[in-house]
């Protein structure tokens, strides 16, 4: 693995290898006072965030630090980006300064792919840094999908053959895209439930089914993933009001009761309580939202391990 740009690039073997590695790392750190492994000593990881983030940025930084890498955070605010520097120049600068890995979050879909392609051409060494997509526009967020899969595997025992519902603002959700691709690769049956206005064009070609009525789907689900309504990306009326959205597609206590006893509730965060998920559901033991965050650290350690620990891979 040279970069992690899309879950669509992962075959089942690679995806399972990453999830297994995350499990092993969790075991290796279990019950220890010292959360430090020497594995990535001397490697430098730069996170380049052009959008706000709490959990992704923090958990990547913890993951890097727990493996003894040097981690540096650059946010668009307060860097030369605000002086008008282009993404390509910023990336080339980071590589020249010695970054072995660049973790990027960017509002433009495809920015990490561009970065990966530029990296080799702009580099002084002939190969650019490993690039990890930490969320690009409305396109993908691969490590979120991996941590969701890790959480589902923990809670349900396996993923193959399970029916997973993804509910809400699918159009603007990179989490949904990455999850649909990854969960389908891992053999799950994915059902998208969303108002028609929040289903993207071309969804018929995705490896999943589309349902419009949440109440009808809930009893058959092994897990339900609630998506945040991304008001910041909405220009125009996608639904009449927040209240109406919550009534149609929010996960209320009444709806929680429709789910089978074993089913798990996931949310990628940040949650808008009272909109897509009611506070009582978010805090219920059925919700695995904090377990997702915990797994996020181990999954990101696994990704960094496979990108950075081994011999440099020659670009094929």
């Amino acid at each position: 693995m040279r970069h992690l740009l899309s879950t669509g690039d992962l075959d089942a073997a690679t995806a399972n290898l990453l999830l297994d590695t995350a499990d092993r790392l969790k075991q290796a750190l279990l019950g220890r006072e010292v959360h430090k492994l020497p594995t990535l000593r001397g490697r430098t990881i730069v996170s380049l965030f052009y959008e706000d983030s709490t959990r992704t940025r923090v958990s990547f930084e913890i993951a890097g630090k727990w493996m003894s890498a040097d981690t540096i955070n650059v946010s668009a605010k307060g860097s030369s980006v605000s002086k008008g520097e282009s993404l390509r120049d910023t990336a080339a600068t980071l590589a020249a300064a010695g970054a072995d890995c660049v973790i990027i979050r960017h509002p433009a879909s495809g920015a990490p792919h561009r970065l990966a392609a530029w990296g080799d051409r702009d580099s002084l060494e002939g190969h650019g840094p490993a690039v990890v997509n930490a969320g690009d526009g409305t396109h993908e967020h691969p490590t979120q999908a991996l941590l969701d899969a890790a959480t589902l595997r923990d809670r349900l025992g396996s993923i193959a053959g399970k029916r997973i519902g993804i509910v809400g603002d699918v159009t603007h959700s990179r989490v949904a895209r990455s999850n649909v691709l990854l969960l389908a690769t891992l053999g799950a049956e994915v059902v998208l439930v969303a108002p028609p206005t929040l289903l993207p064009v071309g969804v018929a070609d995705w490896p999943c089914r589309v349902g419009l009525h949440l109440d009808a789907e809930l009893p058959g689900l092994d897990a339900v993933m609630m998506l945040r309504v991304q008001a910041e990306r909405m220009h125009g009326g996608f639904f009449p009001s927040a209240r109406e959205y919550a009534i149609g597609y929010g996960l209320s206590e009444r709806r929680l009761a429709l789910l089978p006893e074993h089913a798990v509730v996931l949310h990628p965060g940040p949650m808008v309580r009272g909109m897509e998920i009611s506070p009582a559901v978010a805090d219920s033991p059925r919700a695995a939202i904090l377990a997702q965050v915990r797994n996020g650290v181990h999954v990101r350690m696994a990704v960094l391990y496979h990108l950075l620990a081994g011999a440099p891979e020659v670009q094929g």
């Binding site: 590695t21 220890r32 492994l37």
Partner: protein, 213 residues
């Protein structure tokens, strides 16, 4: 890639070919494990009442089932089972950057932890000593044992570090280019230790999971 590898016997095609010499048969393996168990009981002054003060930690892959077998043998001979666990030291290896990223193996430390215990590391083959060094580094992060000892089924020589085993099943003088393959029924379907001649190093799978000891 410069140093020869210890084949792990993952490849059925390689096992049992004409170029292999049998170092230990199935009954030899059983007898050797029983002997090491007796030695551990004697050398550690093993007391059933304080069985939890001794922890056997197998180094994956094949050290793990060996540690379980040794634990069972000690329980049979002394009447109380020591702690048994698994310690994967891959994350502490000094040769990670020399090959593509390896997959990690399970780690399980017995519930009582390792502080002030007598820890006995268990592996199948002792070669360069680098795996043991990595395991010692990993141990340091898991706790502070009272003492650490090492038990191996085969010592094949060619140490690259000042490390020696406290319990050795069999000393085998080898050439660097030869490989010692330990096959265990839990993983390989049968118990046998083979000396594999040089020249088979490049057959498929030889490098997939094995590493310089």
């Amino acid at each position: 890639m410069a140093s020869p590898r210890r084949a792990r016997g993952d490849e059925p095609a390689g096992a049992g070919s004409d170029r292999d010499t049998e170092l230990l048969t199935e009954s030899d393996v059983a007898r050797t494990i029983a002997r090491i168990a007796h030695q551990i009981i004697e050398k550690t002054a093993y007391e059933p009442a304080q069985a939890d003060q001794v922890v056997l930690l197998g180094l994956p892959t094949r050290g793990a089932p060996l540690a379980r077998r040794l634990g069972a043998a000690i329980a049979e001979f002394a009447g109380a089972a020591p702690g048994v666990g698994t310690l994967d030291a891959t994350l502490y290896r000094d040769d990670l950057r020399r090959r593509p990223a390896r997959s990690l193996e399970p780690t399980s430390i017995p519930g009582g932890g390792l502080d002030d215990k007598l820890v006995i590391l268990v592996d199948d083959v002792l070669f360069s000593g680098r795996t043991v060094r990595a395991a010692l580094d990993a141990l340091r992060d898991h706790g502070r044992p009272r003492a650490v000892q090492l038990a191996v089924l085969v010592d094949r020589g060619h140490r690259e570090l000042p490390i020696r085993a406290d319990y050795v099943g069999k000393n085998v003088p080898t050439a660097r280019a030869e490989q010692v393959a330990v096959l265990l029924s839990e993983i390989d379907g049968r118990d046998v230790v083979l000396l594999r001649r040089a020249g088979e190093e490049n057959h498929p799978g030889a490098g997939a999971t094995g590493g310089p000891e």
